[in-house]
């Protein structure tokens, strides 16, 4: 009896639930934590709270009817998801896209990427206890949402790309507005730098905290800023160029450290690179049609297996289609980046303090509806 009591005292761990309703999990993510005091012994993310069967929905509606679903997976970078899906269909059905439409796609997707990173920036600092940067980030993000609203008609769950082109053409007011926004954000980024990046509290919370090694990132299939923060130089835009990305000159920010600070820095630098891409695209924007001359009516990809990946704000988003030659998919597999990025959470947080684990979770930039499709 005595021995048993002794053992229990020595291994006094307890289990707590982080979420599914918790401000730091940004949605309905539940993490089962086995804690030893303030230290995490085991962390297990539990998913399934907002599963909406997007993949199954793709199997019982026509290709075009699935378009609005794309914007509802990753609601922060919806245009990337639009892009991934339409590009996969275009590859499968052999649809040519006019050059102007491709440029418009790149411009809007990069704007969307900046808005996604801005929201992450605000929410991440909010997780760490700083409220003010969130308001500044939302102020900037609002400009992007207004710009995109004037083109796409919606603010968050865009359904803008069509097979073979885009829905609306951009006009001069959008172009001047975008240029003004870039000028504005260029002036604001040094402010963010001074206010947040150089702040001693942020540095203490992030530097050398939550290291994810190159090997671990590879094993779990992490992509996007998480992988690039661990020193893996991989970006679909650069290494498997799709659309017209090969025509632009931009860098892929890579940091070797692998800590939360590195992931933070990758995203901050990515915003600058996105602005470079947008500027070049606006300069080179060709005249012409935004939809193919011969209108795309009923899409019926040939029998086969197709895959197309794009770089979304959180990593590589892939669409795998299995077509049996009809107007619906036989199988539609969506590879979402944060699902892989989250899967390393358990291993990375072993033995970590709870507040540090939350900083790590914030730096993964989780969007739950995208994990749980």
């Amino acid at each position: 009896m005595n021995g048993l009591l002794q053992q229990d005292l020595n291994q006094e761990t307890f289990t707590i639930n982080l979420g599914p309703q918790h401000p730091a999990t940004h949605g309905v993510l539940r993490v089962k934590l086995v804690m030893d005091g303030e230290y995490i012994v085991e962390a297990e993310p539990v998913l399934g709270y907002i599963h909406r069967m997007h993949e199954k929905m793709g199997e019982n509606r026509t290709w075009a009817k699935f378009l609005p679903n794309c914007g509802r997976m990753d609601y922060l970078c919806a245009l990337s998801y639009n892009h991934g899906y339409v590009a996969a269909i275009e590859r499968a059905a052999g649809i040519e896209v006019p050059e102007r439409a491709e440029y418009i796609r790149v411009i809007t997707v990069e704007l969307n990427r900046i808005s996604s990173h801005l929201l992450w920036f605000g929410a991440f600092v909010l997780d760490l206890g700083g409220f003010t940067p969130l308001l500044y980030a939302f102020d900037d993000r609002e400009q992007i949402l207004d710009l995109l609203e004037s083109v796409t008609g919606s603010r968050l769950t865009y359904c803008y790309f069509r097979f073979g082109g885009v829905y609306n053409d951009i006009d001069d007011s959008f172009i001047t507005g975008t240029r003004e926004f870039i000028k504005r954000l260029r002036e604001r980024l040094p402010m963010y730098d001074a206010l947040v990046t150089k702040n001693i509290i942020l540095i203490k919370r992030l530097k050398d905290i939550g290291p994810i090694s190159k090997d671990m990132a590879r094993r779990y299939g992490a992509t996007g800023p998480v992988a690039r923060g661990s020193g893996i130089n991989f970006d679909v835009r650069k290494h498997e160029p799709y659309s017209v990305y090969s025509e632009f000159d931009f860098d892929i920010p890579v940091y070797e450290e692998g800590d939360s600070m590195a992931r933070y820095m990758v995203r901050m630098k990515e915003m600058e690179q996105s602005m470079r891409i947008i500027e070049q695209a606006l300069d080179k924007l060709p005249e012409g049609d935004i939809q193919p001359k011969k209108a795309v009516k009923m899409v019926k990809p040939e029998k086969g297996d197709y895959y197309h990946a794009v770089e979304a704000a959180r990593g590589s988003f892939g669409v795998r289609l299995v077509s049996n030659g009809t107007n619906t998919a036989y199988r539609l597999k969506l590879r979402s980046p944060t699902y892989s990025n989250l899967s390393l959470f358990g291993e990375a947080t072993k033995g970590m303090l709870l507040p540090d684990a939350l900083a790590l979770m914030g730096s993964l930039d989780l969007v739950i509806p995208e994990i749980d499709r």
Partner: protein
Amino acid sequence: MSGYFKELISGTKSLFIGLGITGKYFFEPVVTLQYPHEYLEMTPRYRGHIELIPDEETGEPKCVACGMCEKGCPSGCISVKGEKRKGVKGKVLTKYILNFTTCSLCGQCVESCKFDALRFSLDYNLASQRKEDFIYDLIKRLKEKS
């Protein structure tokens, strides 16, 4: 030890720089809108719920009840009914119900309309506590508007 003091000084400095920035922004003009008292104009391309476009001469809807929007809708939230009338070419629209509770505002109905009879409305103050308020009778709405 000297590193410790260096960090202490630079860290304190960084906090004061941050305070300076927030202090500066405190005196900048307000960027938010006092919503219930002020309203925003929606851009012309804003995608609200759909509405029928009236014929300029008669004021009747241009819709010919072909049902393409009903067919093209991913969520099946449109139901259109038309009837044949003597002396009128084609069908006459008798019922156009939009179930806005399931609409995803994708715009496929507007795109699939060959007769230029549908458009997006610019209304966005649509809050209600009753589900029935979101079952729109678009013909009735058109008549009320004109």
